[in-house]
Amino acid sequence: MKRLPIAALVSAALSIAGCGAFNVEASQPQACLQLLSPQTLIVVPPVIPGGSGKLTASVDIGLKNVFPGFIVDGSPNTNVVRFLGATLALTGPAGSTNQWVRGIKVTATNPSLPPLLLVDYTPPAGAPAGVTFNIEPRDPNNNLVTMLQNGGLTLDVEASYDISSPPAGGAWTAGVGACFSASIRKTFQELINGG
């Protein structure tokens, strides 16, 4: 008579263990976004005489249009969105170069979270006056999934210069592209629980 409850107990234990062992993993190794229209850069003059100035742009990237909701809306323990890198193409008046760029910073911002510095790039000395900067992430392990929730993610792009060699006068624009990866790993138990 005791066999029936034991069998039921073993069966339930196996089911629970199975739900913990069974899992689903999804990964998108690379999704890249490119602004169709270049952003107009806002010139911020040096705040102190002889200091550095900067050109800034704020870019609202629609990552929610790229990654499905089940990736973006999950816990950072199971859902991961990483910044892989960016391209920044600065365009100024005819004949101008990008030799004035002393540094590039890209910061991820969210209205309800502290900003996260994604890129802190310094062009190497003597670098050619290229049109496009390919910039690497400061920490490739940063997980942006929380920043994609609660209001979305905005990238603040900033190119700094020395007052001794300012950018050529006139309108400057920035073509911005960014690449991200996403992955998710959930057990069946988490899926059943709605996690």
């Binding site: 689903v24 999804a26 999704a31």
Partner: protein
């Protein structure tokens, strides 16, 4: 019917046996015993009807979907099958199965591989994941395949109809091509997605040998 030759042999042999056992007349030289001319015919062994080798099976399960397969059984305990399947897309399923006991109820050990072509799978994924319609081109064609190991039992005759119920574990891999889309002032391009799952599998099948 097999008794008739035995009775005939017994009738032929009876007078010889009686003669051999009669006492010899006095004075007569001893004679060698008369040879037995007819021996009982050897009993014919019952002829075992061979197991049928070919069968047709219909199965439903997850992730199989519906499968119509042809089965070949070179040995009564070994079954190999290949079939056409359909879930969200057409596919193929191959199986190797052991049924070690020839009895009304028999245990089953089965290994299976399935591949499904790109069909309607991508369209279903677009709906399931809740991607905005403008971003649907980011999801290209999708195909999937899996391996599974199952155990179960079969009911019925190995020489005719059997029904089987099996369960086990499987590893499924869904491969989704990427794409390019324009949405919200952005040009978006994605590489191929990959979704894998270590999952439970189940299968109900009906097999008829002919």
């Amino acid at each position: 019917m097999r008794l008739v030759p035995i009775l005939l042999a017994a009738l032929v042999a009876a007078p010889s046996l009686a003669l051999a056992q009669a006492p010899a007349p006095e004075g007569a030289a001893p004679q060698a015993a008369a040879p037995v001319t007819a021996a009982p015919a050897p009993r014919a062994a019952p002829v075992e009807e061979p197991y049928p080798q070919f069968g047709l099976a219909l199965a439903v399960g997850a992730p199989d979907g519906a499968v119509l397969s042809f089965t070949w059984s070179p040995l009564y305990w070994l079954l190999v099958d290949a079939g056409f399947a359909y879930t969200l897309a057409p596919g193929m399923v191959f199986g190797l199965e052991f049924r070690p006991i020839d009895f009304f109820i028999s245990p089953i050990i089965r290994g299976e591989y399935g591949y499904y072509f790109a069909g309607n799978t991508a369209n279903q994924i677009k709906k399931w994941v809740g991607l905005p319609e403008a971003s649907w081109p980011l999801i290209g064609d999708a195909s999937y395949n899996w391996f599974s190991g199952l155990i179960g039992f079969a009911l019925g005759s190995r020489r005719g109809f059997t029904a089987a119920l099996e369960g086990g574990v499987g590893y499924l891999s869904l491969n989704v091509k990427g794409g390019t889309a324009t949405s919200g002032g952005l040009s978006i391009s994605t590489e191929a997605y990959k979704v894998t799952s270590f999952m439970p599998v189940a299968r109900l099948s009906f097999l008829y040998f002919f």
